[in-house]
């Protein structure tokens, strides 16, 4: 069994938003919506400032509260631990939206709940997700954590990294290399 994850190198990311546009194009995300977004975090006092740029999205959590709260099993774990929404099972109750500490989900204009899929349709063909494939600085790595020799496993072994609000207890699988 694979365990897909993503690592974003905050030392390389320049916040160009190419990943955001690539996702919107690849996945036909309706205008005015986004499945991923760029966050710039500045800490410190001038002149000692530190800036971290992150490309954020659904964390495809291992203990996903959206899957737990879904009353119809529309939100489910697919191959490789990717969290998906089955459109034909979703009733639009929005329990998953309120359960997500990352606010990664939204109601698609067609009524069902939508979010990042790790581009599972591309992953199945052996390709990287759209956002990863277009990143001009190669700041994003997608891969299988179960495979010890994968690029992502290597990166997490050799680099300092963090996840977002691990204290929310969801075991997120989007890592940020520091």
């Amino acid at each position: 069994m694979a365990r897909y994850a993503m690592a974003i190198d905050t030392k390389r990311c320049v916040g160009c938003t190419d990943c955001v546009v690539a996702c919107q194009t690849e996945n036909n995300v309706p205008v005015g919506y986004c499945r991923d977004w760029i966050v710039e975090e500045t800490t410190g006092t001038y002149p000692e400032l530190h800036m971290e740029i992150r490309s954020e999205r659904c964390n495809h959590c291992e203990d996903a509260p959206c899957v737990r709260s879904c009353p119809t099993s529309a939100s489910h774990y697919a191959d490789g631990g990717i969290v998906l929404v089955d459109h034909d099972e979703c009733i639009g109750c929005k329990a998953c939206i309120t359960s997500c500490p990352y606010d990664a989900r939204f109601v698609h204009p067609e009524g069902y709940v939508d979010k990042c899929t790790f581009c599972i349709h591309r992953v199945k063909e052996g390709k990287d997700p759209a956002c990863v494939s277009v990143c001009p600085t190669h700041a994003m790595i997608f891969g299988d954590l179960e495979d010890e020799n994968s690029e992502i496993s290597e990166a997490l072994k050799t680099r300092k990294h963090k996840t977002l609000i691990p204290e929310a207890g969801t075991v997120p699988h989007v890592y940020y290399l520091l």
Binding site: T42, R68, S69, I91, S99
Partner: protein
């Protein structure tokens, strides 16, 4: 200094800048769910204690409203769904981890049960009543013979219904203000209290109003205790919980909560009911009405405040 900015822009409707997934439909439903749970609970309880003739409004008349109320509540829930035609998917799975799932199944049982329970009292309330078809009359007789079973099921299911309206929210750890186990018991007690208030409004029997008023006094007392506990728990907890409590202790919900829910919805009716007990003449409608409004406002505030409390992106508020 710590400054966070979403530079790519993120304005997903209903999510940003502040989560607004649930509007008026959910608090209205939660209020109705609690109210119906309260009415059915007292009806079944007093029936089992053999007080049917002593307290006829509680046992026989008040339940007649519950199928109508539940239908309104369920319609509100339906309106909230964004993928409405797929609502039946709720009933193709049972997901024990999802309070919404077992809430949906509870409603599927308690709704017909409330119809049957009310129907068995029809002939006693309206002596001229006759179910046109003979099989309905036979069915009525059959259910009337099993009232005890019905009553016990109603007690059990009404507690689940009242409790689940709170647990539904408290299960979301992404929303710190909801994420407290006090919410289940608080909504249950508040639901029973609004049920008692509704019966007080309907009853023309003084002794019946007095017993409901006495029950309501203790329920309001428990509610005040639970609300104080809720804030004590938050203030003793982690940062996001402290911030959630601060929404009500100086934050945007301070005035509306402490005025309409705590003072007008709990303290004033409590004092009014206590004074009436001591012999002062206070129209029963006043505390009963205040309790009902307070219960409704409580649900609106809790649903709204929960959606503004969060872990990430606090800068967007």
């Amino acid at each position: 200094m710590k400054e966070i900015e979403i530079t790519s822009g993120r304005m997903n409707p209903g999510i940003d800048p502040v989560l607004h997934a649930w509007g008026w439909e959910i608090p209205v439903y939660l209020f109705i769910g609690g109210l119906v749970a309260g009415i059915l609970f007292f009806s079944a309880l007093f029936f089992l204690r053999g007080k049917t003739e002593q307290y006829p409004t509680t046992v026989k008349r008040a339940p007649l409203l519950t199928p109508i109320f539940l239908a309104i509540g369920l319609f509100a829930l339906f309106l909230d769904l964004t993928h409405k035609l797929y609502f039946w998917r709720l009933y193709t799975t049972i997901r024990l981890e999802s309070p919404m799932s077992w809430g949906a199944w509870t409603l599927l049982i308690i709704f017909p049960l409330s119809v049957i329970w009310s129907a068995t009292w029809f002939k006693e309330i309206f002596p001229e009543w006759n179910w046109k078809w003979s099989f309905l009359n036979r069915l009525d007789d059959w259910f009337t013979a099993y009232r005890k079973v019905l009553a016990w099921s109603l007690i059990f299911l009404s507690i689940i219904l009242g409790m689940y309206t709170g647990i539904l929210l408290s299960a979301f750890n992404a929303r710190p203000f909801w994420n407290t186990s006090i919410l289940g018991p608080l909504f249950l007690v508040s639901g029973l209290s609004t049920g008692a208030a509704a019966i007080m409004l309907m009853s023309k029997n003084k002794a019946e109003r007095q017993i409901m008023s006495k029950i309501d006094i203790s329920l309001i007392g428990i509610e005040i205790f639970l609300i104080i506990h809720l804030f004590m728990g938050f203030l003793a907890s982690i940062e996001v919980h402290v911030q959630a409590a601060e929404l009500f202790l100086g934050g945007p919900y301070t005035a509306v909560f402490w005025t309409f829910v705590f003072t007008l919805g709990l303290v004033v009716p409590l004092i009014a009911e206590l004074l009436e007990w001591r012999g002062y003449h206070i129209p029963v409608k006043v505390p009963a009405f205040l309790v009902l409004i307070g219960g409704l406002v409580l649900r609106f505030i809790v649903v709204d405040a929960g959606q503004t409390s969060r872990w990430l992106y606090k800068f967007m508020q």
